[in-house]
């Protein structure tokens, strides 16, 4: 029987050799965000560019620059059919002109959707170095990657010394791997725009909704990270989240997040994907308090509801006077994705003492456009239906829509709109016979 070390040596190869057996027409899934494997993606793109490989189907979720500069580069878009399960800055333009297709989904269902519907030939992803027992770690990307890695025909991993070794259900044994390449480079870092004037008010209003001992889910983006900074005076918060981000690290280091009062995974910070800075990735490495699980677990509304006082905090693009929230489309085009928003909206509301909070700035485009609109525009997507919306927060206040009539919710929503737009919204509400 081979020892892990000898099996490692046997499977170790170059990126070029690792991808050389991939056939025309293959379906490929790659690791998410900071786990995009740059050397393997480049080797694949080189084969396509040379004319050796064509008709690939490539599946991404939140593609970043490693894949957008290689396999999703415009110059090979005639040979690569691209699919985005969440649209990012890197794929937004291609999605807009039909060179990349968005796949609608709830994030917690993605492992099942991919396993049952894609017939995956190849998975390429980045992992942390192997331990003495023969285990790699999926590191920053457990999500759907851990599931598809085990059901594809060929699994190729790129070992990167900067990929943190993470606990939980995040380990991958060498016997499950078909080929290994080594390539150490800095992980992709995620940074958000600087604070806005409204953040102070929104952060304070949201912080007031969070009791001591609550378990938090913070969405992806600038606003949720700013909100975290207003929680520094809270006690014994916990983390059960989709995306682990830098703001949470600060709260853990300050002793605000302890996880002591969680019902599930007490004392552990649970996540499915990590997107942050190199400092954050170092904090995660070999840290027994950090546990990652597949997104089918972390985002399962029933699991989310298992922690008392579960507070989910996400952002939206706009809301209409019926209470329908759009968090993913802009000007009729797919801007981002549903992600795990509705997973957490439903899970948090079903938690004992739980709250789902959707926070947003009242205006866009330097105050010229109201994010509270009478009706969502043509082509707008409803991410959170009105029946699910719990708390809405802007810099002008907090409203709770649960159990409210169409009349009351229209009046409530107008109350948190920017004052400059309230009169016109009131007129429209009358025209819609809401009042």
């Amino acid at each position: 029987m081979l020892t892990p070390k000898s099996e490692y040596r046997r499977k170790l190869t170059t990126p070029e050799r690792a991808v050389s057996s991939i056939q025309n027409g293959s379906t490929i899934v790659h690791g998410l965000a900071a786990a995009e494997p740059p050397a393997l993606l480049q080797a694949l793109a080189d084969r396509v560019r040379s004319g050796e490989l064509c008709d690939l189907k490539v599946h991404s979720l939140l593609p970043t620059e490693n894949v957008s500069k290689s396999l999703l580069s415009p110059d090979i878009s005639d040979c690569v059919q691209a699919f985005s399960w969440f649209v990012s800055k890197s794929s937004r333009s291609a999605v807009k002109v039909g060179l990349n297709y968005y796949v609608p989904n709830h994030f917690h269902q993605v492992p099942r959707l991919m396993r049952e519907n894609l017939n995956i030939d190849v998975v390429v992803t980045m992992v942390s170095p192997m331990d003495k027992s023969g285990f790699f770690s999926f590191g920053t990307a457990n999500d759907y990657t851990s599931t598809v890695a085990r059901c594809c025909r060929r699994l190729i991993v790129e070992v990167n010394k900067n990929q943190p070794r993470v606990f939980g259900d995040s380990l991958l044994h060498i016997s499950d791997v078909d080929a290994i390449v080594e390539h150490t480079s800095p992980l992709i870092e995620f940074k958000w725009p600087g604070p806005r004037a409204e953040d102070e008010a929104i952060g304070s209003l949201v912080a007031n909704l969070v009791p001591d001992g609550a378990t938090l889910q913070l969405g992806f983006g600038a606003l949720p990270n700013m909100i975290a900074r207003k929680l520094v005076d809270h006690k014994d918060l916990g983390v059960h989240t989709e995306v682990f981000g830098p703001a949470m690290v600060e709260l853990i280091k300050k002793g605000v997040i302890t996880g002591r009062r969680k019902n599930l995974h007490t004392g552990k910070h649970v996540f499915t994907v990590a997107e942050g800075t190199s400092r954050m990735y170092r904090f995660m490495h070999d840290n027994p308090s950090m546990e990652s699980y597949p997104v089918s677990y972390t985002n399962d509304p029933a699991v989310i509801a298992g922690n008392d006082n579960m507070i989910s905090i996400n952002s939206i693009i706009q809301v209409d006077l019926l209470g329908q929230c759009n968090a993913e489309s802009l000007g009729g085009s797919q801007y981002s994705g549903t992600g795990g928003q509705l997973d957490y909206v439903r899970g948090a509301y079903n938690s004992r003492g739980g709250k789902s909070i959707l926070a947003f700035y009242s205006t866009a485009k330097n105050g010229q456009v109201s994010r509270v609109v009478p009706r969502l525009g043509s082509g707008a997507v409803i991410t959170t239906p009105r029946m699910d919306v719990h708390y809405l927060v802007t810099e002008y206040g907090v409203v709770n829509l649960k159990g409210r009539s169409t009349r009351d919710r229209a009046l409530d929503i107008m109350r948190i709109a920017h004052p400059r737009f309230r009169e016109s919204l009131l007129r429209e509400a009358e025209n819609m016979y809401l009042l």
Binding site: S73, P74, D75, S77, D78, S93, A94, V97, G98, L99
Partner: protein
């Protein structure tokens, strides 16, 4: 979609008009491919009357550009309307093609 062909020296000019979409892309592909296959790889696509282009049209142009360049030819684009140019910009295709203002400039580009 309308296709009209003319020749200036060893350069083939193809005027593409109307909508280049999933329904018409195969016809455009067949036409350009037939030119390249018969050794006429210096091609100008005059897009003056092109009203709309979809991802299918973009993919055809890109695939044929590669074929033309393999034969030491090229596909140059001219007379693009602003809405078509916008699609090329968004798709990241502007950098892939030689795009000029008018037909004579595109033809002259082959002798430069």
């Amino acid at each position: 979609m309308d296709l009209a062909e003319k020749q200036t020296g060893d350069v083939n000019v193809l005027c593409v008009g109307g909508r280049l979409d999933a329904y018409s892309a195969a016809e455009a592909e067949k036409k350009i491919d037939s030119l390249i296959s018969t050794g006429n790889a210096k091609i100008v696509l005059n897009l003056d009357n092109l009203e709309y282009i979809s991802s299918s049209g973009l993919r055809v142009f890109l695939a044929q550009l590669k074929k033309a360049r393999k034969q030491q030819g090229d596909i140059k684009l001219c007379c693009m309307k602003p809405n078509i140019k916008e699609v090329f910009d968004i798709a990241g295709f502007t950098q892939l093609f030689n795009i000029v203002g008018d037909e004579s400039e595109a033809i002259a580009g082959f002798s430069a």
